[in-house]
Every structure is written in C-alpha cells, then in structure tokens.
C-alpha cells in the first residue's frame, strides 16, 4: 500500500493530520499498539519539524506485511550540520514554534529513539529527507 500526504510549512493547525491518518490506518490493520505509538510519535515529530522549519513537504508512506516505511521530504532551508541537530537540546526553532510547545531540540533524538531504522539527509537551501522504518514483528 502507498499513501502520500502534503504538509504546509507554518500551518500548525494542521500539523499532525498525516500522523493521525497513519495511526488510524495502522489500527485498522491491527498492528501492535506499542509499534503504532512509536511510529506515530516519530512521524508526528518529523511532521512538526517540516511545519516548523520548511516551506512545504510530502510524506510518502509504504506499507507491507512486515513493515511501514515513512519518508518525509521537505523543501526548505535544510540542516547545515546534522550531527549538531541530532544533539538533544540543540534547536534553531523560532519563538512562534516554541510557543506551540515544540522547538526544544528534542524532536530528532526522539525520532531516532523510537524508530527501528532512521535515516536523515539534508542539503542547505534545498531541503531535508527523513526516512523512518518500523517493523511489525520486531
């Protein structure tokens, strides 16, 4: 199965919509609740990052009997130093993002902690790609 969702940069009202849809779909497929929680927490963190930092983005979801692969590709400023961005507490978020309850530099480390596999690549002034893979029977 393949699904795609569009993300609008700066639109915090809609942030989390795609993660919510993914959660509903996984529940319908009777995936283990622990796996669902780790998947949607990771996806939601990544979705909020796109809303907070990028101009726009797309979430590509591929699902089979063994796993779900979620790729978030955004068009935005990119991340100059990924190692630094992965450090807990490091953040370039605006005050508006912090007022929404995010931007404490915990998103990327939390995605890494929850995901079975996590890949991130980025190009400055182009955008960032995040790939989250979760296995159902791990």
């Amino acid at each position: 199965m393949h699904f795609e969702y569009q993300i609008e940069g700066g639109n915090f009202t809609r942030a989390g919509f795609a993660s919510s849809e993914i959660k509903k779909m996984m529940k319908q497929l009777n995936v283990d609740m622990g796996v669902i929680k780790r998947t949607v927490v990771s996806t939601y963190e990544a979705e909020v990052n796109v809303v907070a930092h990028a101009f726009s983005g797309t979430i590509y979801v591929d699902l089979d009997e063994e796993k779900i692969v979620i790729q978030l590709q955004d068009q935005g400023p990119g991340i100059p130093d990924i190692d630094q961005a992965m450090k807990e507490g490091f953040s370039t978020a605006s005050s508006a993002v912090r007022e929404m309850g995010f931007g404490a530099g915990m998103g990327l480390p939390n995605i890494k902690r929850n995901a079975d596999d996590f890949q991130i690549t980025s190009e400055v002034n182009k955008g960032t790609n995040v790939k989250i893979t979760m296995f159902f029977n791990k």
Partner: protein, 114 residues
C-alpha cells in the same frame, strides 16, 4: 482515581468525555512542552498543561494520553473539542495553577511518571 473524583477534587469541568467519568487514572505528567510529553513511554498518563492549542491534543493522540487537564483557567476552542471527541480524549478545564493541580493529585495518590 476516576475522572469523576479528579473533577470533584479540582473543581474542574469535564468538557469532553462526560460518558467516561469512571475511567481510572494512576499517573500524571505536567508540562507545557509537548516535546517532553512525546518522550513518555508509559500509557494511561494524564497530562496537566496550561498550553491550550491543537498541538496539545495532537500530542495526546500520538502519545496515547487518555485525559488532559487544562489548568490556569485555560479554555479549549471548538476545533480542539472536535479533535478531542474524535480521538476519545477526556478533557477537563480547571481554574487552578499547574502547580496546585499537580500537588493536589499527588496528595491523593496519583503517581509521577518519573
């Protein structure tokens, strides 16, 4: 404690989930930082917050949080209410501060997450 007992203790209004007043809560977590809430691995944790926006509800949805107390007299919007109902999240509004709510719940046997 049940939601009914919590609402009586805190003089709080149950805005969503009136039909789930017997739902039992054993643990709570107080935060306005949703990033912190998303790191919790426990389920059935009640969230105490003064951050009244859509992301508080979205965070609850993703983190399997069954109930939220909006403290400091924060009110939720109709849009937030719809999202809470859609996701079966119990919502209480309370005029007390986060500190007071936390202290009262702690004194009545609700455990911290850590």
């Amino acid at each position: 404690m049940t939601i009914k007992q919590i609402s009586e203790l805190l003089e709080a209004t149950i805005v969503c989930g009136e039909d789930r007043k017997e739902h039992k809560i054993e643990m709570a977590f107080a935060s306005d930082l949703m990033s912190d809430v998303l790191t919790l691995s426990d389920n059935n944790v009640m969230l105490i917050t003064g951050l009244s926006n859509m992301q508080a509800l979205r965070t609850a949805e993703m983190a399997e949080i069954p109930a939220i107390i909006f403290a400091r007299n924060k009110k939720i919007s109709e849009e937030m209410k719809e999202l809470a109902i859609e996701n079966d999240i119990i919502v209480l509004e309370c005029r007390f501060s986060v500190f007071k709510v936390s202290g009262m719940l702690f004194n009545n046997g609700i455990s911290p997450v850590f």
